[in-house]
């Protein structure tokens, strides 16, 4: 017999994460298809006011506690396990984000149930749920099933529409009183993003560089292009990790989300963690030597070429164009 679906509502600094609404939307559909209740749960300090936003679920469980300000993954996993057992849950959906890392595997270990990572799609057919996960940075997709539809699923951000997860309906709210597992993993403080450098979220034109740039010496060339276009440079994670550009220039999951008018991407493969941060840009133009690079799947215009062949000419032509 199939039990309810439970969604762990993610929030950061007083705001519900948009991924929570994605999960609520797909969770609602799943629950309706399987004719089971949809529950959501929110843990935190002063989170009670947020519960009313989770009206897409049938019931919302709330646990408010000063110790739950950025709780460690073990504390959350322990609470979810209790709830899973008390409410006879079958499936748990958790955000595939940095904030929630570790909760899913820990819960899966404690429940002795499987964990599905990188989930981008969920379907029900004849009472069987199948999940599509992305692997190898989005190069391969994998359809998987869970025994008796039971398990823990990590939902990849940007996979489902947000609107389906929003509603004015008042959910039934249940305040939980559960004991907290003792933890020695203590949250100390937030470290704010480094300021001082330019703010790439405010630029109309961004030239983005990836590993295809090959080395730090080539940054000067692309910088010249950014200058010619009156924009700024940003980059994929490997370029930042190599120290070729400061952290404030990183686009993607753990960097910034940008929506410039023009996103000119050079030697970026278009991994999902990168795309997450730039897919809503006005005009996306990509240069990549690999005709199958995923970046072409989300670009408006693509050039399958060596960036070092194109960029110098492009700089010259822009300069000529401007002086005309």
């Amino acid at each position: 017999m199939q039990g309810p679906i439970l969604i762990l509502a993610e929030h950061l600094r007083g705001d519900i994460a948009s991924l929570t609404f994605e999960m609520l939307g797909i969770g609602r559909k799943l629950a309706d298809d399987m004719k089971v209740p949809l529950h959501s749960v929110i843990f935190g300090k002063d989170v009670a006011p947020l519960a009313s936003q989770l009206g897409v679920s049938d019931s919302v469980f709330v646990l408010n506690h000063p110790q739950l300000d950025m709780p460690s993954s073990e504390v959350v996993a322990a609470l979810l396990k209790t709830l899973f057992e008390q409410k006879n849950v079958s499936l748990v959906l958790i955000g595939g984000t940095n904030v929630s890392t570790g909760i899913g595997p820990k819960l899966s270990f404690r429940l002795n149930l499987p964990f599905v990572n990188f989930c981008r799609n969920i379907r029900v057919k004849d009472g069987l749920v199948s999940f599509t996960s992305q692997l190898f940075g989005g190069k391969i997709l994998s359809d998987v099933r869970l025994q008796e539809n039971r398990g823990v699923v990590s939902v990849y951000p940007g996979s489902f529409p947000i609107d389906a997860g929003k509603s004015d309906r008042k959910p039934s709210i249940e305040m939980l009183d559960l004991p907290l597992e003792e933890t020695k993993v203590i949250f100390k403080k937030y470290l704010e993003p480094e300021a001082g450098d330019i703010d790439i979220t405010k630029q109309d034109v961004l030239v983005s560089v990836g590993r295809g740039i090959a080395n730090a010496d080539n940054i000067a060339l692309v910088n010249e292009l950014a200058d010619a276009l009156g924009g700024a440079l940003c980059a994929s994670r490997p370029v930042i990790d190599q120290g070729w550009l400061p952290l404030s220039r990183q686009v993607g999951k753990s960097g910034m989300t940008v929506k410039p008018k023009l996103y000119l991407s050079l030697g970026v493969s278009g991994a999902p963690e990168h795309v997450e941060g730039m897919k809503d840009s006005g005009l996306i133009v990509a240069i990549n030597t690999d005709p199958n690079a995923p970046i072409f799947g989300i670009s408006h215009y693509g050039i399958c070429a060596d960036l070092f062949d194109i960029v110098p000419t492009l700089i010259e032509e822009i300069k000529t164009h401007k002086s005309e």
């Binding site: 073990e74 904030v99 890392t101 570790g102 994998s142 480094e194 952290l247």
Partner: protein
């Protein structure tokens, strides 16, 4: 301090990935393996910590093509000891990998205690059943934080103070006692480069240890139905031709979209 780094090889996605005949796994014939990126950062962070606080670094990896080169390189970078776990581990997933790594400690009679720090890449591109670090932490009863981008120790070297990435450049500082398993996303500094000549000479002077771990029976409740290559949405309109022609077309598009003036 005893620092352990667990390394994993993953397919190099620069190469084309093909699906095998069973339709459920990768075609291994043409796969080129490389060290998982975050694991390379975990190793770098381990060497940085050793330089700062002393102690030893042991790197442990499951057998895979090219893994010996990776292990010798780790020694060239500053690891003290390299260990290979022989076996055919193709397709093995995190819950089983964590069991293997945990059995490495029991087989070698390493006591896990307030001197033990275990670093693993936060996440690998083929982690279908989750990340290794939290599973390993559960098995060993160690503390855990993931997506770590910086590690310090307190004065007694009994606690780690770690930076964890959230999003949008925002990070958090956490404190946890050892033993700890940390999922490392990025080292404080880019992974160091070691010249091939140095790796070659290490190969001649050093031995890789092997520890025989027996494959643990893990029956996963997850079954892979099929693997497939996503259809590239094919959204991009491709611009072709020599650089001059391409450049002219790009400029026309930018003018049309009002990004540069006519």
């Amino acid at each position: 301090m005893d620092i352990f780094v667990f390394l994993k090889m993953v397919p190099d996605v620069v190469e084309e990935l093909l699906i095998g005949e069973d339709g459920k796994s990768l075609d291994t014939q043409w796969l080129r393996m490389k060290l998982s990126d975050p694991d390379e950062h975990a190793l770098e962070e381990a060497v940085i910590l050793k330089e700062k606080y002393g102690g030893t670094v042991t790197v442990v990896a499951m057998e895979a093509p090219e893994v010996e080169e990776v292990l010798f390189t780790a020694i060239a970078k500053g690891a003290d000891c390299a260990v290979k776990l022989p076996g055919d581990w193709a397709g093995i997933q995190a819950p089983a990998i964590a069991k293997l790594f945990a059995s490495y400690f029991s087989l070698t009679q390493h006591q896990i205690g307030s001197e033990t720090l275990i670093l693993i890449g936060s996440q690998a591109i083929d982690d279908l059943e989750g990340e290794v670090a939290p599973y390993l932490a559960e098995i060993l009863g160690a503390h855990y934080v993931g997506v770590v981008t910086g590690i310090r120790l307190d004065e007694e070297k009994k606690k780690a103070i770690v930076m964890k990435e959230f999003a949008g450049g925002l990070r958090g500082e956490f404190e946890l006692p050892l033993p700890a398993v940390l999922g490392v996303q990025a080292a404080e500094k880019p992974p160091r480069y070691v010249p091939v000549a140095k790796v070659r000479s290490i190969m001649k002077s050093t031995r890789i240890e092997t520890v025989d771990v027996s494959p643990s029976e893990i029956i996963s409740g997850l079954s892979v139905e099929r693997l497939f290559i996503p259809e590239v949405a094919g959204k991009a309109k491709m611009i072709e031709g020599p650089p001059e022609k391409v450049s002219t077309q790009i400029i026309e598009i930018l003018v049309e979209c009002g990004i540069i003036r006519r």
